[in-house]
């Protein structure tokens, strides 16, 4: 964990509603893994008492990136930053994805949930681990990944304006049933999507790892503010108690089996 004053390399709109910011942050870049996040101070004069957490979307050569959607004050400030500006960030935070050696990884992303999934995708490409990536958005303009598509990258839109119509779940059946070996899910996205993926995995007895989000004050296990209910005290936990886990320290990646189905 480092508190680094990163320099912004670029900050660009990559689709109708998503921005990507590349940061030079050598210390964090050196230590980070797919699924981890950073905690951002949007401005030295920030008048909120919490930083803003963002998943790491890529890592290479001392640089990391984030992919974000402007939703409020913090992300608006981020959106106005220019190359050369500096940004106070803490990271890498949280646990990360492992376990991609035995089963066939299927990566599932919804909306800005693409950030950590993209990082994992890059990582698997580098390690030459064959896998599938399914990404869903509401409509065509929100996709920024269109040019990169190939047989193992599947895009969906809620309105059918691009790729498969519907949610990422609609693309799963054919991929999963087409595999001889057992598959494993890595998913990040809005709660309804994660719940659907978790339910699908449970039904088919597939291992499934979900990246969750909650409000965070500290980002590294101190404030106990980011607790979620868990149904099972799994082995991957670091500070698990019986009933609650901390998303920032025990997560953000959880075994789907530990999360209540809903």
């Amino acid at each position: 964990m480092h508190n680094e004053l990163a320099t912004i390399e670029s900050n660009e709109q990559i689709s109708s509603i998503y921005q990507q910011m590349v940061l030079s942050a050598p210390l964090i870049a050196k230590d980070c893994h797919p699924g981890q996040f950073i905690n951002i101070l949007p401005d030295p004069k920030w008048t909120h008492v919490m930083r803003r957490p963002m998943s790491i979307a890529s890592q290479s050569n001392g640089k990391i990136s984030i992919i974000y959607k402007v939703v409020g004050e913090g992300t608006s400030i981020l959106n106005n930053l220019k190359p050369g500006d500096s940004l106070d960030i803490i990271g890498p935070l949280g646990n990360y994805w492992t376990d991609f050696d035995t089963d066939y990884p299927v990566l599932l992303a919804g909306g800005v949930g693409i950030a950590p999934i993209l990082y994992l995708h890059d990582h698997l490409l580098i390690k030459k681990i064959p896998h599938h990536l399914i990404m869903g958005t509401r409509t065509k303009d929100e996709h920024f990944f269109k040019e990169k598509t190939n047989a193992s990258i599947v895009l969906t839109t809620d309105d059918g304006s691009y790729g498969i119509r519907g949610s990422v779940i609609n693309a799963l059946d054919s991929i999963v049933s087409g595999k001889n070996s057992s598959v494993i899910f890595f998913a990040c996205g809005p709660s309804p999507m994660l719940n659907a993926v978790n339910r699908f995995a449970t039904d088919k007895n597939i291992n499934c790892y979900l990246a969750l989000e909650t409000l965070m004050a500290c980002g590294f296990g101190i404030c106990q503010g980011c607790a979620i209910e868990i149904t099972n005290n799994s082995a991957i936990s670091q500070t698990y108690r019986n009933q609650y886990a901390l998303v920032c320290a025990d997560g953000p990646i959880f075994d789907g089996k530990d999360i209540p189905l809903c």
Partner: protein
């Protein structure tokens, strides 16, 4: 210059970190050298392990936050095994914050820690807890109960005993005097202010417990007023807490009557904030030619 002597304890600087906002001092070791702090106060420890409250437990408010963590902690037994030994490696004052639901809880927790061979400097007693025997009324709103609790703990330890007061009372002076009458060595204040948030989209409270504790810069004026009232009513040393995020804030609390300060919520924005404040305080003393920060305690000027 920044050294403050209180009883037979010497604080290298007057800036400590507040309970619940700095863990046990080890989680931040990557970012902060805790030995540079005047001291740390642990997350509240209770007799039995506590899962804490159901989520959501925190929310943001204008220049502040609400929390209802529910005293989530491993319990005193595990605390003594896992956390207490780590403090031996720290070269700063550690105060163990104790919470409970009956006087007996507090006493047993303190006694359990007393039997350990530890290097802690003392205890901070969180009286903002519902007293199950008195229908959930908090210890810290009742002078008699505060005095009883303090005396019961005083009997069991020779270490520094700090009573941490709640601002949610009509007259904090009465509670401070009761704590001193019961034998408290010091008073710290304030704990969080009762508050509430609502999400109009879901029509639900922003905290699962409906009511929670407000902290951060928003409460600084309230904290200052309470410190000054305490200063005018008791003569024991005082620790100022509430919305501190700069040396300027720390100095305000000292002028109002505090000997030491604790930094809480601001640690979330910057875990090194305590240490930054310490170096700012040093520059301030140099610039203003202040020999000892103790010289400004209570030096608020008015008729």
């Amino acid at each position: 210059m920044l050294t403050i002597r209180i009883g037979n304890l010497t604080f290298a600087s007057p800036v400590l970190t507040a309970s619940g906002t700095f863990g046990y001092g080890d989680e931040v070791s990557d970012l902060v050298n805790v030995d540079l702090l005047g001291g740390i106060v642990t997350k509240s420890v209770t007799l039995h392990p506590r899962e804490g409250n159901p989520p959501p437990r925190i929310s943001e408010t204008p220049f502040g936050m609400l929390n209802s963590i529910g005293l989530a902690n491993v319990g005193v037994e595990k605390f003594c095994k896992e956390k207490l030994p780590k403090f031996k490696k720290m070269d700063t004052h550690v105060f163990v914050n104790i919470a409970g639901y009956a006087i007996g809880d507090y006493v047993e927790t303190l006694e359990r820690i007393e039997v350990e061979d530890s290097t802690i400097s003392g205890y901070e007693i969180n009286v903002s807890c519902p007293n199950v025997k008195k229908g959930g009324m908090q210890f810290g709103v009742d002078p008699k109960l505060t005095e009883q609790l303090t005396r019961a703990l005083r009997d069991k330890t020779d270490k520094i005993l700090i009573l941490k007061l709640s601002p949610n009372v009509t007259k904090i002076e009465d509670i401070a005097q009761a704590a001193v009458a019961g034998g408290a060595d010091m008073i710290s204040a304030i704990n969080t202010v009762v508050g509430m948030g609502i999400d109009i989209a879901t029509r639900r409270p922003s905290l699962n417990t409906v009511f929670g504790g407000l902290s951060g810069p928003a409460i600084k004026p309230i904290a200052l007023a309470n410190i000054h009232k305490i200063y005018k009513s008791v003569s024991v040393p005082i620790i100022g807490i509430g919305g501190i995020s700069s040396a300027k804030d720390a100095i305000e609390f000292m002028l109002a009557g505090a000997d030491l300060v604790q930094v809480g919520t601001s640690n979330f924005i910057n875990p090194a904030i305590g240490i930054n404040i310490i170096s700012e305080l040093k520059s301030y003393c140099e610039k203003e030619n202040i020999k000892s920060l103790h010289d400004i305690k209570g030096k608020l000027e008015y008729q």
